[in-house]
């Protein structure tokens, strides 16, 4: 009986599992290297987790609607470069408004291209978004000639972002909370959210029930692009050094966070809370491996194996009962 309960928990409570595993990994890390238990480490885990959670917001929406967005990283990099380029180290509040609007615009355009390719044209989302991500990446080099004139925001913006309240909570974690509220409202308190869940679960049924599936999925890709643009704007402040393709590595991390959090790659089921828990697990694991001074290649290898195991446990599409 007890065994069944454990099995049920492991199998069905991905968020709980992610939190439990995070705790376990953190404890092991401390046990192996007691020096890693300090306020600073907490702060840096929180900061990294917040960044990843914000970046994975759009990815969560797209995967729930049975798509995938391989351009999250490139969109963020582009938005960050645009942000830094507009601010040019200045601190005028008007410029901040212009920069954030520009970041949103960049995201919206890339998202629209993703949506038109993956939904309107009916091409495989994985391929379309990956190629668009390539184009966006190259575009950064073309625009800046390879090395951007400005590589960082003004010190004030940067320290505002990275400032730690009570020495633990970085400001970016409050942005993550804000993002959480926004996505939670979008997914659980609007028709939009209901519709993307239904589309992701059974697109044909959604269509015959009267949902404008094509239009909604294009909007959803755009929404994801906008969220990635905002993530890029925040990332520009959070990171000390912006170059071309600065956030490209984020794409895979967002997918991993979403999947670990229990969102089905096949769509129709998932939550942003899960994504946040997945992000935490990913960051704690990466932190632990760094603290134990595992070589980067070994670190990638271990994380890859863990991802495959988690995918195998959680992400197999269940057969539909006829």
């Amino acid at each position: 009986m007890n065994k069944n309960k454990v099995y049920y928990f492991v199998k069905n409570n991905q968020i709980g599992m992610a939190l439990l595993l995070s705790l376990l990994i953190f404890v092991v890390t401390i046990a192996l290297n007691p020096k890693s238990l300090n306020v600073n480490a907490f702060g840096s885990i929180l900061s990294l987790m917040s960044m990843l959670t914000i970046a994975a917001a759009g990815q969560t929406l797209v995967i729930i609607a049975d798509g995938i967005d391989m351009s999250v990283g490139a969109t963020m990099s582009m938005a960050a470069i645009v942000t830094v380029g507009i601010l040019r180290g200045r601190e005028d509040p008007m410029l901040f408004v212009i920069a954030i609007l520009a970041a949103i615009g960049v995201g919206a355009i890339i998202g629209l291209c993703n949506g038109l390719g993956a939904v309107k044209a009916g091409l495989p989302p994985m391929v379309v978004t990956l190629y668009i991500s390539n184009v966006v990446n190259r575009l950064q080099y073309v625009m800046t000639g390879g090395t951007p004139e400005f590589t960082s925001v003004s010190l004030i913006y940067k320290s505002f972002m990275t400032e730690r309240l009570f020495q633990v909570f970085p400001v970016i974690s409050f942005f993550a909370l804000g993002m959480y509220a926004l996505i939670f409202w979008l997914m659980n308190r609007t028709r939009y959210g209901q519709q993307i869940f239904l589309i992701g679960n059974n697109n044909r049924a959604a269509q015959l029930t009267g949902i404008r599936t094509t239009r909604l999925k294009v909007i959803n890709y755009m929404m994801a692009g906008i969220l990635s643009g905002i993530a890029g704007f925040i990332g520009a402040g959070n990171s000390g050094y912006i170059k071309c393709g600065a956030f490209d590595g984020m794409t895979i991390d967002t997918i991993v966070a979403v999947v670990i959090g229990g969102t089905l790659l096949a769509g129709g089921k998932g939550s942003y809370a899960g994504t946040a828990a997945g992000a935490l697990l990913l960051i704690v694991l990466s932190n632990g491996l760094a603290v134990l001074s595992v070589s980067p290649s070994m670190k990638n290898l271990i994380m890859g194996v863990i991802l495959i195991i988690l995918l195998g446990v959680y992400n197999r599409a269940k057969p539909v009962r006829a």
Partner: protein, 511 residues
């Protein structure tokens, strides 16, 4: 030659075959008949190795054999041409015909030249005029059917089965197939034909085996049977017994015309369809599988585009681009193909019930889970739609309850016109009655219902008027006293090609 004895097969609770038997001699052409769901297809699949029976024996040439896979079936010389093609759409005609049969050179490479010769031989035999290199997906459905038959012939079978393979063929193509069959028969091949076209049976078949509810109810020589007898065996009803005996209210003339379809065509599936639905009535649509019924209902919904004719709904001419347009005009659609077209298996019962509502209204307006729950709760209470908790995923429910969920989804929105495509397919008898009761209540409140069903009894029970589709056209309209099973069956088989006038006396049915 071939004998199947006491074959039984259960699909969970459904008994598809119940001690069925079938016997075919060498060089005999046997017709295998039965209405929809009588077990014909399952019996054929047992022979082809696609279905493993739960009981019974198969003898070929007097020897007991086990057919566990299609490879086994092939080993015993059994080849099947199916109605729903087993062709691979993107592959060429040659490759499809020669699939797994291609002759090899010594080094293991396929001998293209020989392969082409062999395929062309069968194309000539069946007089199929296509380029052998064309991908089959680009061909006409009837040509695809012919290639399906060629593919079966290429296996040089001892036992050839045509599983409704002639259903989409044109008359001249049927002639060609029959002449080939006669030749094969003379060579000693045993042939089993599954068909709904009665005229074909009398022309080519020697023997006849009739299935009903998975049992073999009649066997015999075709010469000794007439059509009425066959229909009787298939339906199990005396031809003069009236089923649609409850009084139909003569209300059609007083009521408002809701939907008027004029000369609608959508080649190759629909031609020249004229159809009316009045307010507050249940219009039935009957016919054999694949005669255009489901296409027609999806045309109304805007899911398919028609090429000719017009559609007038509530006095206005309409042309929907997608289902969403129809839904915003208060048209609802319930599909019998739950898994693919209606249920959201991972989402909760409440969300499934609310889905029709989810589809309309402002995208970003506030929508609380309470609103979804209370809507779902009231729908459940009002119509007794569902067992199980609001928060449970829909795939935790049984098939019948899932279907009630889908019905409830639309009923609760009370659309003006509700389209149903075989909504009780695979639904147990109690749920079916429940669904019928709910639908009748709705019509009393003025809803109009168009009901496609493959089950004749169901149609006669629920529909005020019944349109019958045959090869993409309406072959009959039965209303009032005309709603009798034998008329329905006759129209389904295309025996009355002309649309009968309501109330006109029909001599043949008087028996």
């Amino acid at each position: 030659m071939l004998e199947m004895r006491n074959i039984s097969k259960n699909f969970e609770a459904v008994q598809a075959l119940n001690h069925a038997h079938l016997k075919v001699e060498k060089g005999e052409i046997m017709a295998l008949l039965g209405s929809n769901g009588s077990g014909k297809s399952t019996l054929v699949k047992v022979l082809s190795g696609l279905v493993n029976p739960t009981g019974g024996e198969i003898y070929i040439d007097g020897e007991a054999v086990q057919i566990k896979s299609s490879a086994d079936a092939r080993k015993h010389g059994i080849a099947v041409a199916y109605q729903d093609f087993s062709l691979i759409p993107k592959m060429s005609v040659i490759d499809n015909i020669m699939l797994t049969l291609s002759p090899c050179k010594k080094n293991g490479q396929i001998d293209e030249k020989k392969s082409r010769e062999m395929a062309e031989y069968y194309l000539n035999e069946l007089q199929i005029d296509v380029s052998p290199d064309a991908p089959v997906e680009l061909l006409m459905p009837s040509t695809q059917s012919m290639i399906e038959i060629a593919k079966a012939l290429a296996m040089k079978p001892r036992i050839l089965i045509l599983d409704e393979a002639t259903a989409s063929l044109h008359a001249d193509e049927v002639e060609i197939v029959f002449s080939v069959l006669k030749k094969l028969k003379a060579e000693g091949t045993s042939i089993i034909i599954v068909t709904h076209r009665m005229s074909e049976i009398f022309r080519i078949c020697d023997g006849c085996t009739i299935l009903k509810s998975g049992e073999t109810v009649a066997e015999g020589n075709v010469n000794q049977l007439d059509l009425d007898e066959i229909v009787f065996h298939m339906t199990g009803k005396y031809p003069d017994k009236e089923i649609g005996k409850q009084e139909t209210k003569e209300k059609n003339h007083h009521l408002q015309l809701l939907l008027d379809v004029k000369d609608m065509a959508m080649p190759p599936k629909l031609k020249n369809v004229n159809f009316q639905a009045y307010q507050g009535e249940i219009v039935g649509i009957g016919g054999l599988d694949g005669q255009g019924q489901s296409e027609f209902i999806r045309v109304i919904l805007g899911d398919h585009n028609y090429t000719a004719g017009k559609m007038i709904y509530q006095g206005k001419e309409i042309r929907y681009k997608q289902a969403a347009d129809a839904v915003s005009d208060e048209i609802g659609f319930i599909s019998g193909d739950r898994g693919r077209e209606s249920i959201f298996p991972l989402r909760s019962v409440a969300e499934n019930l609310f889905a029709g509502n989810t589809a309309r209204g402002k995208l970003f307006a506030y929508l609380s889970p309470k609103e979804i729950d209370s809507f779902a709760k009231s729908a459940m209470q009002k119509y007794g739609v569902v067992a199980g908790g609001l928060r449970h995923p829909a795939n935790s429910l049984s098939g019948g309850n899932q279907q009630k969920l889908v019905v409830g989804r639309w009923i609760a929105l009370s659309p003006k016109l509700l389209l149903l495509d075989d909504p009780t397919k695979g639904v147990d008898i109690n749920s079916r009655r429940e669904i019928h009761r709910i639908l009748r209540e709705c019509t009393e409140r003025g809803m109009s219902i168009i009901y496609v069903s493959s089950d004749n009894e169901e149609l006669l029970e629920i529909a005020d008027r019944i349109y019958i589709f045959y090869e993409g056209q309406i072959s009959a309209l039965l209303a009032g006293d005309d709603r009798r099973e034998e008329k329905l069956v006759a129209a389904m088989l295309g025996i009355h090609q002309k649309q009968e006038e309501k109330g006109k006396q029909d001599d043949e049915s008087k028996n």
